[in-house]
């Protein structure tokens, strides 16, 4: 038995040493999760408008164009559970917070990270935001084991050491810049593909859980005297024409009913807003910088007016 354990340990030791070294290096590699989490910890008390949400929030609202001090805490594929967790952390130490902007997309109520193809992103919330999930499972607490591809991690590290390229994709206020779509962009097929990707047949429990996250966010905002703005961001007609009506109605009706019954909640449905045209889109469901500037102006006028 002793011989067996000795052989296994001597085999595993180099692997563990290498693993720990890569883990430490990866955690020192600048990325958006680490940056935003640190920024919020350092500056939370000064934020007046907090933007949450998925890529629909990340590349739609430009804090630099807002009148009130704004920070964009959205991340790609961020679901409502993580929006709630981030808000819970920020609202405790931010007395100046006046608005929370929460994008409510077509897929918001049917999407959970555990069912998402990008489920591995959950580890970023566990590592950098202290999200209390799967406390003992290294898949959710280690960059090396939880990464989707170790090869990509190694490449990222080498690029960081040799070229200084980081994993930061957003500006200092958390917004991700996007170029306009190219002139030959195939709106129809992209719109259809994205709509299909976002259309889900899920059980009522998923919808119920997501509803309760929004309701909890609404309660938190009410308790702290913060206004909650629910926004369905603009999308290209090629995308909106392929959406499932019942899934879409589920979101819009839920937001409308929340806004009707709560004085501190507003709902802005800009999904088919005619003010946005081809030049405003990066792809079928994401705005480019110009489109984001337009949307930011709309939100800014609302937040300043109230």
């Amino acid at each position: 038995m002793r011989r067996f354990l000795l052989i296994i340990c001597s085999f595993a030791l180099p692997l563990m040493v290498a693993g720990i070294a890569v883990e430490v290096a990866l955690r020192h590699l600048p990325n958006d999760y680490a940056y935003k989490s640190r920024w919020l910890a350092d500056h939370a008390e000064s934020v007046e408008v907090l933007v949450l949400g998925s890529s629909h929030g990340l590349s739609s609202i430009r804090p630099d164009l807002m009148t009130l001090r704004t920070f964009n805490a959205a991340h790609v594929s961020q679901t409502l559970a993580f929006d709630r967790h981030i808000l819970e952390q920020v609202i405790q130490c931010d007395d100046s917070l006046r608005w929370v902007v929460l994008p409510m997309s077509y897929f918001s109520l049917v999407e959970e990270m555990k069912d998402n193809i990008e489920w591995w992103r959950e580890k970023n919330y566990c590592i950098y935001y202290g999200y209390p999930s799967h406390p003992l499972n290294p898949l959710y607490h280690s960059e090396v084991i939880g990464a989707p591809k170790i090869k990509d991690d190694i490449i990222n590290l080498v690029r960081y050491w040799t070229e200084g390229t980081t994993l930061r994709d957003t500006d200092s206020l958390g917004y991700r810049h996007r170029n306009p779509a190219t002139s030959d962009y195939d709106w129809a097929s992209d719109g259809h593909a994205r709509a299909m990707l976002h259309t889900r047949q899920v059980g009522t429990s998923t919808i119920q859980r997501n509803r309760s996250h929004v309701e909890h966010i609404a309660d938190l905002c009410r308790q702290h005297g913060v206004q909650l703005l629910l926004v369905t961001t603009p999308a290209h007609r090629a995308y909106t024409s392929c959406l499932d009506n019942s899934q879409l109605n589920e979101v819009t009706q839920f937001c409308l009913s929340l806004a009707e019954t709560n004085s501190h909640i507003r709902y802005l449905n800009l999904l088919n807003d005619p003010r946005f045209n081809n030049a405003d889109f990066h792809d079928a469901d994401h705005l480019d910088d110009e489109g984001a500037a337009k949307l930011t102006a709309i939100i800014d006028s609302l937040t300043v007016a109230l």
Binding site: M1, R3, F4, N137, P138, L139, V144, I145, K151
Partner: protein
């Protein structure tokens, strides 16, 4: 818990260390296997109850029924009474299996046939994981006691541990009491070589499951989900990818199970013997899911009369009866085999398809050809052998399309699409070609290693520990890196659903 779950990463080392460092010492003092068996039983029930604790009631009931029937068979005064006890156990176990696995299917099909609404009669029961596997193992015990191939055990703990032994509980190999039960009746000493061999076999199993099968699954699932207008290239790619996926998945599971059992001093039977290097369908069935195939042969095919007519017939009648028996029994065995996989017409059609392929071989007596490993003593197969292997592989792949399809309509439309040569362009595939090439390379790596080691009991078996040690170590590290690269969240094994 599944083998690729995080819970198992904690469970296995903890069980292993407690078993050898603590329980083995107690067993050494008592000089019996009972402490080891008791601990393995508790660990196995924890492992199985992880899915749903209610399943434990079922397996405990099956264990007690089969154990009791063994004792009753042994104590029976007459052959007739022994037969009754054996049949009682078979009926009880098959009834449980039938209710959980087939009741809803047959009721709804019958109702559809009669045009009545059967929704109220359906039970909607959750299929307990591995029920088909442990039920067959329990059946084999009482039948073997009845046939006097093994004495009934009086050790209820050893029997329960034998039936619920966690490495092979949920997806086999379906062990025979004659080979596995005696191992539970005596104290098992620790063997470093056996444990190391088990670790190597598990590593190869994890590679096949987490790297090859799960990567193939991404694309195979996508292709089988495209039901609207299947293309020739889509069906071809889907068939090949699923053919490799199901092999890597199930044989990967078997490697992990066999390797894991070795860690506890238990030897399980081989379940796969390079089936895709077979030169005929008969050879394929000798090498694919060996524990199930041999189970059907011993407990269904031979009792049905096998391929031998009764001696009282005249010579001319004998040949005619022999052929009739062969056709009938082959068809029965393959249809049952299909049905064993689940309550769906696709499984029955898959069984019938293989029966049709198998029948000419058994009727002409060519089913016993190719018993030795292909290209024995040579590096490469001859042209004839390569052509035979390719032909068999393609025939098997067609069968997997029927097996994997949601229903017979989809199976037919996919197979019909193969005839449409205009849709054979790779550009019609709904995913990135680079990813497909990457997956193909992984499959080739698996098949190459298995070809190279086809005469060993598993791909990473070491014949001479001192030979090429640094190269072997580098290979193990490479496999671990591939696991890190491609592994991720737990993906269920295909055969768990059966």
């Amino acid at each position: 818990m599944g083998f690729t779950s995080f819970a198992f990463v904690i469970f296995l080392p903890a069980t292993f260390l407690i078993y050898w460092l603590l329980i083995d010492r107690v067993a050494g003092r008592s000089k019996t296997a009972t402490p080891q068996n008791l601990f393995l039983l508790a660990a196995s029930y924890l492992f199985y109850g992880w899915w749903d604790w209610r399943f434990l009631v079922l397996i405990a009931f099956t264990s007690l029924c089969s154990y009791g029937s063994g004792l009753l068979i042994e104590r029976s005064d007459s052959h007739r009474a022994a037969r009754c006890w054996m049949l009682a156990n078979v009926i009880v176990n098959l009834l449980i299996l039938g209710i959980f696995k087939y009741y809803d299917f047959f009721v709804s099909e019958l109702a559809a046939l009669l045009g009545i609404d059967a929704s109220r009669a359906l039970l909607h029961l959750v299929l307990p994981v591995g029920i088909s596997f442990y039920t067959f193992q329990a059946l084999s015990y009482s039948i073997d006691v009845y046939r006097r191939r093994i004495a009934a055990t009086h050790d209820v703990v050893a029997f329960a541990a034998f039936l619920s032994f966690f490495p092979q509980l949920v997806a086999g190999p379906i062990e025979r009491a004659t080979t596995l039960l005696p191992q539970f009746c005596q104290r098992r000493p620790f063997s470093c070589e056996q444990a190391l061999d088990g670790m190597r076999q598990m590593l190869w199993g994890f590679f096949k499951k987490m790297v090859v099968a799960d990567t193939c699954a991404i694309y195979a699932d996508q292709l089988f989900a495209t039901t609207a207008s299947p293309t020739a290239i889509g069906t071809l790619a889907g068939a090949l990818l699923f053919t490799l996926q199901i092999y890597a998945d199930f044989s990967g599971y078997s490697d992990i199970a066999i390797g894991c059992a070795k860690l506890f001093g238990i030897r399980l039977m081989r379940n796969f013997d390079n089936p895709y290097f077979s030169r005929s369908i008969a050879e394929f069935w000798r090498r694919w899911h060996i524990s199930l195939t041999s189970w059907f042969r011993d407990y269904v095919y031979i009792p049905l009369g096998g391929s031998r007519p009764t001696v009282s017939d005249t010579a001319t009648h004998q040949e005619a009866r022999r052929r009739l028996l062969i056709v009938r029994n082959t068809l029965i065995i393959f249809l049952i085999s299909g049905l064993w996989h689940g309550a769906n017409w696709t499984y029955l059609a898959w069984g019938a398809y293989h029966a049709i392929l198998f029948m000419p071989l058994i009727l002409t007596g060519r089913n016993r050809h190719y018993r030795a490993t292909v290209a024995d003593g040579r590096w490469l197969p001859s042209f004839r052998e390569a052509a035979q292997m390719l032909g068999t592989f393609l025939l098997v792949a067609v069968g997997w399309v029927i097996f994997r399809a949601e229903d017979l309509t989809q199976a037919w439309s996919m197979l019909a699409a193969l005839a449409d040569w205009h849709t054979l362009s790779p550009s019609l595939l709904p995913f990135d070609m680079q990813k497909l090439i990457e997956t193909t390379l992984l499959c080739l790596l698996m098949l190459s290693v298995e070809w190279w080691t086809r005469q060993r009991s598993h791909a990473l078996e070491v014949l001479n520990p001192r030979r090429l040690r640094p190269l072997r170590l580098a290979g193990y590290y490479m496999l671990l890196l591939l696991l890190l690269q491609y592994g991720g969240r737990e993906q269920a094994f295909i055969y768990f659903q059966f």
